[in-house]
């Protein structure tokens, strides 16, 4: 449990750092050039680390299913939706809704156990927890800080 939380905290911290770096890039180069660079860098880094740890086993993909090749396109959907959402709603409201939606779908996913993930039954406790977190997100976001219009600076 604690170890799992620790991994999630590492991911969140690095996402924050990455968003700040990305916002610096997108100020100059625009959202799509930035996304392209970010994913290209991520690809090279993953390939390098994978080769270091697993060597030639990196390329043994026997259990590969066709849709695995396309799942990376979801990331492009993320950037598109965030760009449009922020354009139409402004960053504060758009990102509050994005974060809430992230949690809502997480809850849905856990309780349905789709895609062969372990099912986490939906309970009142879970609903309470998520509602308190969503409340926290809105207090955080609507509590008055400067906003900008860049996708990457406002994903956080």
């Amino acid at each position: 449990m604690i170890l799992g939380l620790l991994w999630a905290l590492i991911a969140g911290s690095l996402i924050s750092l990455q968003n700040i770096f990305n916002s610096k890039v997108s100020e100059r180069a625009g959202n799509w050039a930035t996304t392209t660079l970010v994913l290209g860098m991520g690809f090279l880094a993953s390939l390098t680390i994978g080769l270091l740890f697993e060597g030639i086993d990196m390329f043994s993909l026997q259990n590969m299913k066709p849709w695995y090749w396309f799942s990376g396109i979801i990331g492009v959907g993320v950037v598109t939706c965030l760009m449009q959402g922020i354009r139409l709603l402004g960053p504060t409201y758009a990102i509050s809704i994005v974060l809430t939606s992230q949690l809502g779908f997480a809850l849905l996913w856990d309780s349905l156990g789709w895609l062969g993930l372990a099912k986490v039954p939906f309970t009142l406790k879970q609903l309470m927890g998520v509602l308190v977190i969503v409340g926290g997100i809105f207090v955080f976001k609507l509590g008055g800080r400067r906003g900008e219009n860049r996708v990457f600076s406002k994903i956080t």
């Binding site: 700040i20 770096f21 997480a106 986490v120 008055g144």
Partner: protein, 141 residues
């Protein structure tokens, strides 16, 4: 209304990405997953970049080199995210992840690190993070 729809869909896609990565990792391994999904994402956004041409990629030269390397963190982000989801489920993972994400962002902005516009952390941000941590405690224990 359309804006809300995009925002909801965006959030759904972020969660779906983590879930799909966890699923794919079970079959082919986590580093393989990170490599393949970012490669296909790269190819598609490259095509979009050419097609839409919203930015001028020559302008990369004007960006500090450190900031250009941010994308490589994606490898560790995907690995950590997948490992967390497999251990504690999607809801708890996303909750803890968001707390770290918002906390580190205000820490960096509070100090004005990495050329961010310095902003003071205000009471609502403390309360917000406090509520989020309370929520995770409710979820987890």
């Amino acid at each position: 209304m359309r804006g809300i729809l995009f925002a909801v869909l965006g959030g759904a896609c972020i969660t779906l990405q983590g879930v799909a990565n966890s699923r794919i990792s079970q079959d082919i391994g986590t580093w393989q997953t990170a490599t393949i999904t970012q490669l296909t994402g790269f190819v598609v956004s490259f095509l979009l970049m050419i097609f839409i041409w919203d930015g001028k990629w020559q302008r990369f030269k004007k960006v500090k080199p450190l900031y250009l390397t941010g994308g490589s963190l994606g490898a560790i982000i995907i690995f950590s995210n997948v490992t967390a989801i497999q251990r504690i489920g999607v809801t708890l993972t996303i909750s803890a992840l968001l707390i770290a994400q918002l906390s580190i962002t205000i820490l960096i902005e509070n100090k004005g690190w990495f050329g961010t516009a310095k902003q003071k952390m205000r009471l609502p941000q403390f309360i917000g993070i406090g509520m989020m941590i309370t929520g995770v405690v409710i979820l987890g224990f």
